[in-house]
Symmetry: C2
Subunit: 146 residues, 2 copies
């Protein structure tokens, strides 16, 4: 590999920001790295804790602002299950979420083309879909899968 994971991430981030007219800042970069760094579903508070290991003075408001920018750029996905705090997710492909009632763990399930088109065929003519959200709640006997 010619370029490190981090430098490829940085390129992706910078070009996505530039495309939308946003400036690259170390805060945005740190928030983005933190989300990519672990394949889980942290909320803003948890992201704050992780980012502060690198930028100890960053504020929660800035984390929220950075997250909004990243979501706007399509670099990160915002996941809202019931009324709990928004979660942020680096998995950009089509997938469903499963939340375990007992452990609170959230697992992703990637969706194949056939499943997606059968989902989309639920809607009749005249409806154009920008985005869909599919989530399950229940219990699982699978461990955390990071």
């Amino acid at each position: 590999m010619r370029y490190s994971l981090k430098s490829r991430q940085k390129q992706t981030l910078d070009s996505a920001l530039k495309r939308k007219g946003f400036r690259p800042t170390k805060q945005r970069s740190a928030v983005y790295e933190v989300i990519l760094g672990k394949k889980d579903h942290p909320n803003a508070e948890e992201i704050l804790l992780r980012v502060r290991r690198v930028l100890p003075t960053i504020s929660l408001a800035t984390v929220y602002n950075c997250l909004e920018t990243l979501v706007d750029c399509g670099l990160v996905r915002q996941v809202n299950l019931d009324r709990s705090p928004s979660l942020f997710c680096p998995n950009l492909g089509p997938h469903a979420h499963f939340k375990c009632k007992k452990t609170g763990e959230i697992h992703d399930f990637d969706l194949d083309k056939a499943t997606i088109s059968s989902l989309e065929s639920i809607l009749p003519e005249g409806y154009s879909i920008e985005r869909f959200d599919l989530s399950f709640i229940g219990t699982s006997n699978q461990g955390r899968q990071n």
Copy 2:
């Protein structure tokens, strides 16, 4: 028809409340009627307005409390799309929601058994599903369908 719509509703409500050990009150009854009365997706504020036509002194907190009770009894479904206020929905059968970006309208789409089982087959062994939520966001050229 022997019994009026309202008296059947009242029976459903009372027996569901009793099953969970809740008392029947006129506030719960009014909130329930308001939600069944119009096949849309009102939020708590809107439900307050409608209920006040019948019980002018009911408070927003009581509306929230009644809604929690009704959801707990399985009489009404709580719908959370993005971060906007929770919506409440009398449609208890399996269905998906479509939200139109332009008009804010929400349409229900009932799901047939085949679609449901194909949805549920997304999850592997070891996952047991209590509930799922499927929602779409996009635009539609269909009018409001009440």
